[in-house]
């Protein structure tokens, strides 16, 4: 056999504690010895200063944590509600369904807008990914993925490709062909490979790089052309469920939320976790940046949405109501950041006043969970995808003569 170049004992009795364990080959004063990992750690720690033990290090960690909380509190001199008192109150919001996109055979899991403000890509449980012109409600492209539960999809900034993935643990990029008859699946490009399901994907500022989040607890940055892993981000202790890229000037960070109830902010270049927020009581299903990039909102299974400020390094607002008992699956801001749209598992969409913290409207219409929600790039409307197999594009309805009743009537909250 080839690599028996060096005989290395990998398992057996440890030279120090004589227990049968996986062994490591060490050199002490030029003598090769075999220690198990525990004995090696103990030996290494003999350099510990007197009084220091692993226990004391843990205690140090706790006191630091408390100190951190104190520092954060010191700078918290006012609540958002107080500051928002002088803001103008919002009038009634009347959002009507303007388009209903029917065509998926099963639950719609994810959707994304194209930069041209009218096209949408959506993916569903049955493995179909459809590109719609939402304005005319025509289907433009359809791809059948070789996997079910396509949980993530994204439109490329140029509008020339889409990315999607799910239970296949991969993220694939499909260039959108102009020839309608051409089989899109033939041009498919596998970009990302994770060891568990893909929960979210997004293109960074160009078509050339993709950021993915996965159930294996990591997020990763990939080069589309070569499929190479450019950077990986470790730090969540459970599945990463969502991510969002920052609209900041330097464009170098993104936030991810996971089943470990934490929302982490990462630096794209170094892979470091630069900030962390853990005030949620349950899985974080969706995170979205505030338009200025100074804050982000999160939606969680604990039925609340929260706003976290990055400069103050704390949670600044909670959007919740006793009557809302179901988890929130998706959030997005309106263009000015004044409104927060959130889709819930009780089939409704709640619209919150970001500054005052109050609910402005509650929208009905879907017949099953709202799984994903996005405001269009120019803010003219927002689209919600649901487990009832449809997507709805909604916009304000101000006294236009058309009042045709249908399933999608809106009520005021």
């Amino acid at each position: 056999m080839c690599d028996q170049t060096f005989l290395a004992i990998t398992f057996g009795p440890c030279d120090s504690c004589s227990e049968n364990r996986p062994l490591m080959n060490l050199y002490i004063k030029t003598e090769p010895i075999n220690y198990c990992s525990l004995c090696m750690e103990i030996m290494a720690c003999q350099g510990l200063a007197s009084g220091e033990t692993l226990k004391s290090l843990k205690a140090e960690s706790e006191t630091l944590r408390k100190k951190l909380e104190e520092e954060r509190k010191k700078l918290h001199d006012v609540e958002l509600e107080k500051v928002a008192e002088k803001a103008e109150a919002l009038g009634e919001l009347n959002m009507k369904t303007r388009r209903t996109l029917k065509g998926h055979g099963n639950k719609v899991l994810c959707m994304d807008w194209c930069k041209d403000k009218r096209r949408i890509v959506s993916s569903s449980q049955d493995g179909k990914v459809i590109v719609w012109d939402a304005f005319t409600t025509n289907k433009e492209h359809a791809v059948t993925m070789p996997t079910t539960w396509v949980m993530a999809c994204a439109y490329a900034p140029s509008g020339c490709a889409i990315a999607c993935g799910g239970l296949d643990n991969k993220c694939s990029v499909y260039p959108l062909s102009l020839d309608k008859d051409e089989n899109l699946a033939a041009k498919k490009k596998s970009v990302a490979m994770h060891t568990n399901y893909l929960s979210g994907c997004t293109f960074t500022n160009s078509d050339m790089q993709i950021l993915t989040s996965s159930g294996d607890g990591t997020s990763a940055l990939w080069d589309v052309e070569s499929g190479q892993l450019l950077q990986s981000f470790h730090g969540h202790s459970a599945d990463v469920l969502t991510l969002d890229l920052a609209p900041s000037e330097t464009g170098n960070t993104f936030v991810s939320g996971g089943s470990d109830k934490k929302a982490n902010v990462w630096d794209l270049r170094s892979g470091q976790n630069v900030q962390s927020f853990d005030t949620h009581d349950s899985d974080i299903n969706c995170v979205k940046y505030y338009p200025s990039g100074d804050a982000f909102a999160s939606a969680s299974d604990d039925s609340t949405c929260r706003l976290f400020d990055l400069r103050a390094d704390r949670e600044v607002s909670i959007y919740s109501k006793d009557s809302i008992m179901f988890g929130a699956a998706s959030v997005d801001f309106s263009l000015s950041g004044r409104l927060l749209f959130a889709g819930y598992n009780d089939y409704t969409i709640n619209v919150w006043d970001v500054l005052k913290g109050t609910r402005v409207a509650i929208l009905f219409g879907h017949e099953n969970r709202v799984s994903s929600l996005r405001v269009s790039p120019d803010g003219t409307a927002f689209c919600s995808g649901s487990w009832d197999n449809t997507l709805r594009v909604r916009q304000e309805g101000r006294g236009v003569g058309r009042e045709l009743k249908q399933g999608g009537t809106t009520l005021y909250g």
Binding site: M24, R99, L230, E249, S270, L335, S336, R338
Partner: protein
């Protein structure tokens, strides 16, 4: 997976090993990527695509590692040499990759050759140094001992060992993020008072209030309500005259100006008058480098150096000497983010200097304020909803997508769509 590997190494039915050349040393017992794929196809009777996929997985999980370009964990179907990873380093063996081992590995690398550590390795090294500082003497001692022992091996063996280790650590990087270190850094972070942060939200919402179609409507009408796409047509990238709202947004922040292609063009014209256009050109070139194809990175870095940084360059940009020095040093090992420091310097230069002056001194841009569309007299008339060309087509064609204009009310057009 290991069954496959063992079968591959079977002396009779397994793969043909050869002595492969790596630079000048001959490496025994190596095979080419092509061999791997061919053997898989033959043995398991599968297609080439499947063999490539399976082979790729073997590399990703660390059972086979490439000798050239060890960082790229891909299986190339050409004559690039590969080797089997020794069972010592197999992922399945219950050997936990502890931080201690990783620290020893990094220390060895550092001692062996200064500057050998890559960016993320350097950071991991310093994090580990802080965290397990109490064991550092041991780490360095072990690193030295292991290096010394390896010196006593043949050169070929040494290279093999190094490659094996490197491949192992590429895959099994332990997570170097623990509470203690994290808390130290976060305590030291600059935090801003809540009142200031929250005021900024107020200001932002107020500033953008009229630009938010959901809050304030949009002119001439919201396309989703009226089925008239004029709002989109008058706001396309390169329309003749921009709308007033659009021009107003350019004054909100430098980023808004740069993000709008029309705003960028106007700004460029202004800079040309001020003889500082090379700054914007440099910024654009750096963005292209950051977000472009990986294969073109080296080429782009050279271009940027030639055009903007070389002494006597046609469009030399004025960066401070420290940043310039750092950038020039970094160009020797070009990567995607090498121009970041310089780019940021120029960005803030433009933001603090040229941008404000442009705002104040600029003659007002010609802009239109669209009329609000009068509501239809006959509420049940519906406009034809025209489709627009796919963005994929637009990027190829030179003509504008100005086709999506709504026609006038054309009689009762009952639609096939089911809504409203």
């Amino acid at each position: 997976m290991e069954r496959v590997i063992v079968a591959m190494q079977d002396p009779d039915m397994g793969m043909k090993m050869r002595n492969q050349r790596l630079l000048i040393t001959v490496i025994p017992h190596a095979m080419t990527g092509n061999d791997v794929i061919e053997w898989l196809i033959q043995k398991y009777n599968i297609t080439e695509e499947e063999a490539r996929h399976l082979g790729g997985l073997l590399v990703q999980y660390g059972y086979i590692y490439p000798l050239r370009e060890p960082r790229s964990l891909l299986l190339r179907s050409d004559d690039s040499p590969y080797r089997f990873q020794t069972p010592y380093f197999w992922t399945s063996s219950r050997w936990p990759a502890t931080e201690l081992d990783y620290a020893i590995y990094l220390a060895k690398k550092n001692i062996r050759k200064q500057g050998e550590l890559v960016d993320y390795e350097k950071e991991n090294y310093s994090i580990l140094h802080k965290r397990i500082n109490h064991t550092w003497d041991f780490v360095v001692m072990q690193a030295r001992e292991q290096l010394r022992a390896s010196k006593q091996r043949r050169k070929a063996d040494r290279i093999v060992l190094e490659c094996q280790e490197q491949a192992y650590w590429l895959i099994n990087k332990p997570c170097v993020n623990m509470p203690l270190y994290y808390h130290y850094t976060t305590l030291g972070r600059n935090r801003v008072k809540s009142s200031i942060c929250l005021e900024s939200f107020m200001k932002y919402s107020e500033q953008y209030l009229h630009h938010d179609p959901i809050m304030s409507g949009c002119l001439p009408s919201n396309p989703w309500i009226s089925d008239d796409t004029s709002h989109w047509t008058i706001n396309t990238d390169m329309v003749g005259i921009p709308t007033r709202l659009r021009v107003e947004r350019w004054s909100f922040s430098f980023m808004e100006l740069l993000n709008d292609s029309m705003g960028r063009r106007e700004f460029m014209i202004y800079l040309e008058k001020e003889f500082s256009a090379e700054n914007l050109c440099f910024w654009v070139a750096c963005e292209d480098l950051r977000h472009g194809e990986s294969s073109k990175i080296i080429l782009k870095v050279e271009e940027v150096y030639k055009n903007f940084l070389a002494p006597g360059a046609a469009r030399w940009v004025n960066i401070d000497s420290k940043t310039m020095e750092r950038t020039l040093e970094g160009i020797k090992r070009p990567h995607r983010f090498i121009m970041d420091d310089a780019q940021m310097h120029i960005y803030f230069l433009m933001k603090k200097d040229s941008y404000p002056r442009n705002l104040t001194s600029r003659t007002p841009t010609l802009a239109i304020v669209p009329q609000e569309t009068k509501k239809s007299v006959f509420p049940f008339m519906r406009r034809q909803r025209h489709s627009s060309p796919s963005p994929a087509m637009v990027t190829q064609a030179t003509e504008d997508d100005g086709k999506a204009k709504g026609a006038g009310p054309t009689g009762t057009s009952s639609t096939t769509n089911s809504q409203i």
